[in-house]
């Protein structure tokens, strides 16, 4: 068995005196979609930000492609091929769509622009438009497109469906499938457990800063504990 692309072990993260993650363990295999489920405030975004180097880890290891990346500066982690479409999108709202994508490309440049725009046709119509004037769904697509500009091997998606209309959510999840088909592994954080479990290979449930349950997604889908807590009471 090959080593996982991303491996998180015994990860502790604290904000000031308060510890938020208490020893998280999680692997993302090459080519997989891994979903982390959990309700508000259990530490999902903290986990994602720590992997991207925004927050510091108090204890534990994060290994990406065999290299330890815990507490590495955020820009170096991006350069290694780990990109994130973060919570709240964090796009550059005063700059146009093209400039947002150029920034996403960083030192890799614009080699990926055509390929990325082919996946997001709506963005190619809006290249000169200010990113802040896009609709919520378009902003989310820009955020994902920007993260793909460096041709990452691992893409972190933090709540990509948050605040979007059901039709747009379906489009976003369809996109996630296509991104994986291009060979990008994905770590997905979602409150929409049903949609996430449909697309993921593997899933983990985060509660109060600990992974309380993890396994293949189809198994979790049938797990009564998941059904009750996250799927509205009945398994599919």
């Amino acid at each position: 068995m090959t080593a996982p692309l991303l491996s998180i072990a015994d990860l502790h993260v604290a904000m000031g005196p308060q510890e938020i993650l208490h020893g998280v363990r999680l692997d993302v295999a090459q080519g997989a979609i891994v979903a982390v489920l959990g309700s508000n405030g259990v530490g999902k975004t903290t986990l994602m930000r720590t992997v991207s180097g925004i927050y510091r880890a108090r204890q534990g290891t994060i290994t990406f492609r065999g290299q330890p990346i815990a507490n590495m500066p955020a820009h170096r982690i991006v350069q290694l091929g780990l990109s994130q479409a973060p919570e709240g999108r964090q796009i550059f709202s005063n700059m146009n769509v093209r400039e947002n994508l150029v920034l996403g490309g960083g030192d890799v440049g614009l080699g990926e622009l055509d390929r990325v725009l082919a996946m997001f046709p709506i963005l190619s119509e809006r290249l000169r438009q200010n990113a802040g004037s896009l609709s919520g769904g378009e902003q989310q697509m820009l955020c994902i497109a920007r993260a793909l500009m460096r041709r990452p091997s691992l893409l972190l998606l933090d709540e990509p469906s948050l605040g979007l209309a059901p039709k747009i959510v379906a489009q976003i999840f369809d996109l996630i499938g296509r991104i994986r088909a291009e060979g990008v592994s994905i770590l997905l954080v979602e409150q929409n457990a049903r949609a996430a479990l449909r697309i993921a290979d593997h899933a983990a449930v985060l509660e109060d800063g600990r992974i309380v349950l993890s396994g293949p997604a189809d198994q979790l889908r049938d797990d009564p504990r998941i059904a009750e807590a996250y799927l509205g009471g009945h398994a599919h």
């Binding site: 820009h75 350069q79 964090q90 400039e99 920034l103 960083g106």
Partner: protein, 304 residues
């Protein structure tokens, strides 16, 4: 019917406004990125002037070398200023800390502290009296344009201000460094997610902005023929007023307001004694804050 006197006052006002603009560009650039007022910008201006003066008295180099020397000192001063007065207070981790007013207020005071230390240090080393620039370096040869008399410095200052403005617009819209500066200014957290080294980008901004401040200082020294430790104070205030009037983070807005300020001051001396002309700037500041709280050009809130 049009008195040439007013044309002359207009010309004087324009050149005065240009000198304010030189200062306001760097000031606004730094504000746009960090959203903090850099009170030490006036001292960077003074340091630029003194660097030029020291070079002139030591080796009497060609004027280009004097300006390059001032730029180098400006770059060094900008770098040190950022490390000493801004970096220790910066913690970009999440939205909450970015919006925190603590950082803004602490750097307000730390940059003020640096400005006081630099000014006092210059007074200890050079004395507080004015030092005159050797005659052959002055840029005040009169030039007659129709009914108006200008000096060579007016053209040089106009040229330098225009070059700075155009160069900066080019930098900000066409180069990778400039895009990174705008990205950090727009969304520092987002900048981290796309792999921008935010620390380095902020240092770059300080270096560029401070080089502009130092260039303004040496040009003013050569223009007025005098260099002294407190020389940065008044232009600093005027640049601040121009920045606020221009909407805080619009560089073209700050330049236009600097010109309005210069012309108004020069016209005002027609009616009141010149000692009162500073009142024009403060009057404008108060009127702007009352009637245009977002500045004259700040409606869109486009930063940098």
């Amino acid at each position: 019917m049009f008195d040439p006197y007013y044309l002359q006052q207009l010309a004087i006002g324009l050149s005065l406004g240009m000198t304010y603009a030189l200062m306001a560009i760097g000031f606004t650039l730094i504000f746009g990125v960090l959203n903090v007022v850099n009170f030490a910008h006036g001292e960077i201006y003074t340091l630029g002037a003194f660097a030029g003066l020291v070079l002139i008295s030591a080796t009497a180099p060609p004027i280009v070398a004097v300006i390059l020397g001032a730029l180098a000192i400006g770059a060094l001063a900008g770098f040190s200023l950022e490390r000493i007065a801004f970096k220790p207070f910066r913690r970009f981790t999440d939205e909450a800390s970015l919006k925190s007013r603590a950082m803004r207020e602490s750097t307000l005071l730390s940059s003020l502290a640096v400005s006081i230390v630099v000014r006092e240090a210059l007074e200890i080393v050079f004395g507080s009296q004015m030092r005159s620039v050797p005659f052959e370096y002055l840029i005040n040869t009169p030039v007659r344009v129709g009914p108006v008399i200008l000096v060579t410095g007016d053209f040089i200052i106009f040229g330098v201000a225009a070059a700075m403005l155009i160069g900066l617009q080019y930098l900000l819209t066409r180069t990778r460094v400039g895009l990174a500066i705008r990205a950090v200014s727009n969304n520092p957290l987002g900048a981290k997610y796309v792999g921008i080294d935010t620390d380095r980008t902020i240092i770059t901004t300080f270096v560029v902005g401070s080089m502009m401040g130092a260039a303004a200082g040496i040009l003013m020294g050569l223009y007025y023929g005098a260099v002294f430790p407190a020389m940065g104070f008044t232009p600093g205030i005027k640049a601040f007023v121009a920045m606020v009037m221009g909407g805080l983070s619009s560089i073209p807005g700050a330049v236009i307001c600097a010109l309005i300020l210069g012309i108004s001051e020069s016209m005002a001396t027609t009616f009141v004694s010149s000692g009162w002309s500073d009142m024009v700037a403060y009057g404008f500041l108060i009127l702007t804050l009352i009637f245009f709280p977002n500045g004259l050009f700040g409606a869109r809130r486009e930063r940098v």
